[in-house]
């Protein structure tokens, strides 16, 4: 099957001033689009030609994995933001975070540290395992927790292209702003 680039669920400038329209134009319009185009080209004539993204993420290697996982990761990333974000979790998700991390603040601190210290390009994730327990994982480059049987709940893209036009080398500033537009209502839906 052929994949298509999902439109952003908000206007290109909706996340200003935290993530600029210019960053989103490149991140969504160029990077995300390129991953879609590349995976569509690479799967032709392979066993993955009619596979869905989850199968590609679990079984493919090399370019098909890299581009397929990046399609999934970016869609997952863009969908979790809102200009009117609920900036704290509630209900069952809040309880699960408190159970796994002690408190929402302790979780936030641990996640921020994981995002700031991932060396090179990659992603930091809040995930749920088969027992329902939550944890934080770092993945390099196109890595995706689905490959390890974990359910991703939310993610922070720490490839430099996610923030370099707005923040340059100041990744901590990007992470600080990330929390202001992360919509916990979306995360609760995934949970």
């Amino acid at each position: 099957m052929s994949f298509t680039l999902p439109p952003l669920p908000y206007a290109i400038d909706a996340l200003e001033p935290y993530i600029s329209a210019k960053t989103l134009e490149f991140h969504h319009g160029k990077h995300h689009q390129a991953y879609v185009t590349n995976v569509n080209n690479l799967i032709v004539g392979t066993e993955f030609e009619n596979a869905n993204l989850e199968t590609i993420i679990k079984k493919a290697e090399g370019g098909i994995f890299n581009n397929g996982a990046q399609v999934y990761n970016h869609t997952f990333y863009f969908e979790q933001f809102s200009p009117k974000a609920a900036t704290e979790p509630s209900g069952a998700l809040k309880a699960a975070i408190e159970k796994s991390f002690g408190s929402f603040d302790a979780f936030k601190e641990a996640f921020t540290k994981a995002a700031a210290t991932l060396f090179g390009s990659g992603w930091v994730w809040l995930v749920k395992d088969a027992t329902g327990a939550l944890s934080i994982v770092q993945t390099s480059n196109a890595g995706c927790p689905l490959r390890d049987g974990l359910t991703p709940l939310m993610t922070c893209d720490v490839w430099e292209h996610a923030y370099y036009l707005d923040k340059q080398n100041l990744r901590p500033k990007y992470i600080e702003d990330f929390w202001k537009i992360l919509d916990w209502k979306v995360v609760e839906g995934r949970f």
Binding site: F119, G120, S121, N141, A142, H161, Y164, L165
Partner: protein, 199 residues
């Protein structure tokens, strides 16, 4: 003795329009500066203190990951600044040119292979021209690894390297890494590369 962030051998705007002054300044002061500081912090007060960067890299598989990441970042950027210069020769000459022809067929074929290595490095990393004895090979490494590290797949002495971390080109080229790599060829200091080839 601690490692020091050396000054660039040219002005921040010297490589314009190929690499812009803002990129050079942030890349040198902030990124390279941070690797230097973090490397010093990682070796200070340990048995690693006082070793040269080459000594550290040669045994990196047994050292903490902070030394691998920051020591690599310190060394790689030193090389990168030095193998660039404004108005350099358009192509290698002399023994280096002969070695490139012998290894790759022609300068054009070398350039194509080196460009391919730089463009296909997924994520952050470097592409290298590596001296192995009298011969030359092309390789690429992830993140701040390099061919001097004992854990590198292709080991040898790097004599040319292009940084393909997005911070090396994003302000000017954004997602267009191919344009950056093409521009890089306009600022290679082939005299310096030849010097490193001679060893």
């Amino acid at each position: 003795m601690s490692f020091e962030l050396t000054k660039l051998p040219y002005a921040y705007d010297a490589l314009e329009p190929y690499i812009d002054a803002q990129t050079m300044e942030i890349h040198h002061q902030k990124h390279h500066g941070a690797y230097t500081n973090n490397l010093n912090a990682a070796v200070q007060g340990t048995a690693m203190e006082g070793k040269t960067i080459e000594q550290l890299l040669a045994g990196i598989s047994a050292l903490p990951v902070a030394v691998r990441n920051n020591g690599g970042g310190f060394y790689n950027h030193n090389l990168y600044w030095e193998i660039m210069a404004p108005g350099g020769a358009p192509a290698p000459e002399g023994d280096l040119a002969k070695a490139i022809d012998a290894a790759f067929g022609s300068y054009k074929e070398f350039k194509d292979a080196f460009t391919k290595a730089a463009l296909t490095r997924f994520g952050s990393g470097w592409a290298w021209l590596v001296k192995q004895g009298d011969s030359l090979v092309i390789s690429s490494t992830p993140n701040q690894d390099n061919p001097l590290m004992d854990l590198a797949e292709v080991k040898g002495t790097p004599i040319l390297g292009v940084d393909v971390w997005e911070h090396a080109y994003y302000l000017k080229y954004q997602n267009r890494r191919p344009d950056y790599v093409e521009a890089f060829f306009s600022v290679i200091n082939w005299d310096e590369v030849a010097k490193r080839f001679k060893g």
